[in-house]
Amino acid sequence: MADRGDTHYSVPALNKWFLVSSVALFASLVWMVIDDWNRPWKHYQREFEQIELKKVRQEEELLTQAGAIEAEARLKEQVAAAETALTSRESELAAAKEELRLANGDLWNAVEATKKKISAFNWDRYIIEEERRKLGDLTHKKELMDASEKALNDAKGVQEALQLKKNEIESKVNNLTRVVFDAQASLAAGTRDLARVRGRLAQLDPAAMSGPEKLADVIRDAPGLDFVKPSLMVKKVVLDRLTFELNFTKKKRIDMCQTCHLGAERAGFEAEPQPHTSHPRLDLFVTNKSPHPVNQFGCTICHRGSGEALDFIRADHRPSDKDQAAAWADDLHWHKQHHWDYPMLASNFTEASCVQCHKTSMDLISADAPVVSRGYELVERYGCYSCHKIDWFPTKRRPGPTLTNLRAKLSSEFIASWIANPKEFRPTTWMPQFFHLENYAKGETVAISKYGQGRPIEGGEWDDAAVAAITAFLESRAPVKPMPALPVAGDAHRGRETMRLVGCLACHNMAPYGEEPSPSADLALQRRDTNEHGPNLRGVATKVTPEWLFAWIKNPQAYWSETRMPNLRLSDQEAADITAYIMEDPDKIFRDVKPGWEAKSVSMPDTQMHEVLGEQARWLFSRDGRGVIEARLEGRDDKVRWNDIGELKVAVGEKLVGQYGCFSCHEIEGMKDWMPIGTELTNWGSKTIDKLDFGPGAFEFGLDPNYREGWLMQKLHAPRSYDRKKIKNPTERLRMPYFAFTDEQAQAITTFVVGLVDDEVQLAKMVPTPAQSAVDAGMRAVRQNNCVACHMIDPGTVTYLDESGAQRTVAAEVLNFEEQSVPSAHSLEALKKDAEEFEAEEVAFRVLRAEPEIGAKPGDKLFVPVEKLVALTPPNGGDLVRLVADYYYKGVEVHDPSLGEGDDAFRYESAATDDGFGVTDVDGRVRDHSGEPYDKVRWTFAPPVLWDEGAKVQRNWFFSFLKDVVPLRHQVRVRMPSFDFDNGEAEAIADYFAHKSAKEWPANVTRTWRLAKGLTAADAARECGVSTDTLVEIEHGGRAATKANFDKIAKHLAATKFQARPAVDPDYEFSTVRSAAHLADRRAKDEAHLTKGEALAVRGVNCFQCHFRLGQQPAADPIGWAPDLNHTRDRLREDWVRDWLADPALIYPGTAMPANFSGSPPQYQEHYPNSTNADQIQVVLEWLYNFDRMYIRQ
């Protein structure tokens, strides 16, 4: 168009501009579309495809190397051969098929004929019966009726014959074609892995794709077309039941995390970098087989974060520490999301989420969620719950001792020093430090006295005066009750032995102060989880009076009804001996205090004390009004005379106790029902960050403070740090005490507290089965009462590589290098060091459970080359066993630096007062057992193991035993304490062991059976009709041990006549041989069965050489004693006794009880002619379970 000259612009120039801008606009449009299309998650998905392709190729390679291709060719050849074989018999097959066709025709004819006869017969019968009814003659037309019935039967006979003929021909055809079918089936089975790999490769491998296929993929994923059916897709789970709160509405969770985390639900990607890594616990999470499948639970219910985000930053990932935060910021431009209330939990805090659904079963999940469970235990042990309410917390008792009677125990000086800083006296105490912390620091002004008119009062004197006031107040609430004198004089030497042997040192240690481990090998001087259950006893003689100590160890509950310390049923003499040992302290333990520590009262002139406490009173009593306070202080008030320093101390002390909440942990007269003072923690984890007071303090601990986790870590490590740089009046200052938590403890507690969230997941919450509840409550009771200090409840394991390179884990104990029958408690490092020292190339283990994988039965030795060892896990419990055994072998190891250096600095003292060596036996005689084998001492004198206890004892007996302890093994000095259990706790423990054994039982029985038969897992599984995976899982006590699965195995076991113990049913008391029916039946067959049992037991085996008989002591010394057989019928499960009689060492390897009925040929024929070993066991069992009928009722 020509320029008409009537415009102010040049059209050609404008055209150019149009051109340029439209090109630019188009380009930006293209750029926009591409940018929108090219999401980061697509990049991750392509990356994952490459990783997977590599893995599948590797797998193909491995299969090829293993000869899979040849195997396939072989199998194909077999199919071809079978087909050829069939072709060669084609005429035969054709003839057979023709025959079958004809037979089918004949059969059809016969079936039709039969149908007609049936109709005819029914019609005839109807007519005839009608006629008979009218005539009243039941024999009318009988011949006709019989003839009709015969015709029908004949037709049926013909049909049956033809059916049989047809079946025969059919099987002939099948036999001809079977070869081909079988060959095809084995081809499919033998190439299953190969087929899977090839199928996957066809989808992944570009080399395997044709051009059109590749093009199709490009088109499917093209921008604008990818809504139809793209190859790269967003993966999401929609969770209707699990909601979260968004702006006051409940919203379903939609988790798209797996769009990027494609490897999360698949095993085999453990070593790949994020986001492709496999979930670390696929047995528990994500997969459909796990208890938390992703399609029911999603991801954000545990991890938190924004599930709908498809971008690393918007999903609100959170780093575990500062280094990771810096690395993310560099590589991924990571920064915090500020508008999202549910930031993802850093991976080291993820376990926090377990709490929201598992509140009712925190103990049950302890093995799978170790960090949060540890936090839960610490909250219980340190008593956090008593100041900070957690409404569902199962423990309610006050964690600190009662103070209602403390003057019977402690001096004023001790109370004051202890309150000022308990850790100065006992660094390991759970009591925290309340005074002289940073917001009351020395030199820092707390307040200007007299309403700002007086002098500044600094933190040091403020807290000193507070300590004096609290001491005075507590004493005022605990009247002096004189303790009775000791009824007998004690002997320190005897007391030392008693203290070692009755079990005090199961819960208490006597470790020296400081971090360095004790140079002594004495287990009582080393700190372990179990022996820190009670306080460290070092220095205790400087704390208490002998009269109090005597009364306390005689009956702890009398002083403090809620104490965990059980009653050991000590005699006056025993208690006096222990008291003498502790108070006289010959071993320099109980009067050893931290250098520089001394129990002393607060030293402050009375005028200063009055001034400081007066100022505290002004703050604490401010509600009463200035006039009243000043009148009291100046002595102008008739009733309240605060001019008297004593009265002022008590008054201020009471307020301070209220302010610091001492009554939450300790019982104090007059304050028993007061409400706890701390912030409620029931749903602290849901508190939004803006509700936390961060203060201007520095954050020196752990994480970025803008996390709940970071805030809490700081609070736990430096509880008063949020007061820094703030001006607060004394009643507003932070009061949380200092616990001296380690990083590990602080992190565990933080994890637990962060997990205390609002209940949003009611629908997904775990509802424990009755069995799970029983186990949970039992585990808690076992933990709270420290049962594992004395009793081993699970054996330890060793993991090693066998000759084929396969990794094996076996329940076993390490045996000592010097004396191979002695088990030793070793860590892997210590074991390797010892092996070097002894120049041992292999380590000996004793197998403790049936292990079919390696063909070992309990008691077998296992020798593992040192370099093949992978891991050792210690047994669960039984620390006291070693301590008791040590006493029998070497007495007490006394560290005496005056003797020399190193190993020379120790002397050993025993119960024997002369030069000899010995231990006082229960009969009062001192004997030297140090020459006895370790197994003998362990099984005879130490606390019993409780592995599989539920299979051994009757549940109701166990319950009553826990309620009211009856000594069973009269030879032991160590004593099962009386715990004062309530019914609930005793039931929980009894049920726990019963359920534990019930769970172990399918595993044990299956393993034992397979071991006995020498079958591989695959063969055994095939025999039983379950999959190999299922069988293996059952053998390991896994989730596949369902009743249905186990019934299949049990049925097969019964069919093969394998003698397996019946399942442990916790509600079922097991004894058939006592029943009247059984006895009547037996009497009918063998009148003398009970006397045979008696003859075998008494004259053959001579059980009473070792076993007590109705309280009657056997002839041997105590080391040869065994329990009273009169307990058997009430105490033990009959099926267990049967196994025990057959081979005791299979149950407790090393026990003193011999195998009595294992002779080949069977022995004792003179007492029971022509009997087998099983016959003998049967009659002895009957004798044992009818002991009362034999001996008591007569």
Binding site: Q820, S821, G859, S930, A1115, A1116, A1152, P1154, A1155, S1158
Partner: protein, 239 residues
């Protein structure tokens, strides 16, 4: 008495070895004595209340753990000579360990690898045999009066044997990886026949005094000098 029985066993086995050696190279007898280095520890006789165990007969209360004569000779020490290149032969007949008058007889026995051991009971009362081995399988079986149990011992080992019914009963069974061994007599002396020429390592073990080492040399003509091996009187370290 016991030592005589034991010598009979040892001598028989030794002879059997000597006879079955195919080509007859020059061999000699190693002799020597095991003596205590230090003061003889005091041992008390076993405290057994015989009246409580009428079926045991007269129980010998000799404490066999430490028997040292006036010249320091240690009885019941086990001497094993390590000779390379000689095939270790198991005894052809089972070696017997008896329980008689509620004591094990012998108190210390040595057998070669692969030998079958029979545990007998010559008493009127039942005993049990409870073994505490290092490498071989542990057994714990009742042996009724007049009964018998047997076990083949395949691995070199030191096995403590107890009867739990009569706690004082104890014995040690050494399974040697050598044909050349002896248990010392009352004066601590030993004699081992059929040693090939050359210098051999000697290992000594005693249940209380622990271990000691020595050497024995058999000359070209088969003669050898008597050796004296000392054992420290210090008690072995407790477990």
């Amino acid at each position: 008495m016991k030592n005589v029985t034991l010598f009979a066993v040892v001598a028989t086995t030794g002879l059997a070895v000597a006879f079955t050696t195919p080509s007859k190279p020059i061999t000699g007898a190693g002799t020597g004595k095991i003596v205590l280095d230090g003061a003889k520890p005091e041992v008390k006789p076993l405290a057994i209340d015989a009246a409580k165990f009428p079926d045991c007969g007269t129980v010998d209360t000799t404490n066999e753990t430490v028997q040292v004569d006036d010249k320091g000779g240690i009885a019941n020490a086990v001497v094993i000579v390590e000779v390379a290149g000689v095939e270790v032969k198991a005894a052809e007949k089972p070696v017997q360990l008896d329980q008689k008058n509620c004591r094990f007889t012998p108190h210390i026995a040595v057998v070669t690898k692969g030998t079958t051991v029979e545990y007998l009971n010559s008493d009127k009362t039942s005993h049990n045999v409870h073994t505490f081995p290092g490498k071989n399988d542990a057994i714990n079986k009742t042996v009724p009066a007049g009964g018998k149990e047997s076990q083949k011992l395949d691995k070199e080992d030191r096995i403590e044997i107890k009867c739990d019914i009569h706690p004082w009963m104890a014995s040690h069974l050494i399974v040697a990886d050598s044909n050349f061994y002896a248990v010392t007599g009352a004066d601590g002396s030993f004699k081992i026949e059929g040693l090939p020429k050359g210098e051999h390592k000697v290992k000594v073990w005693h249940e209380v005094f622990g271990k000691a080492d020595g050497k024995i040399t058999v000359a070209e003509d088969g003669s050898s000098a008597a050796v004296e091996i000392k054992m420290s009187a210090e008690k072995k370290k407790r477990k």
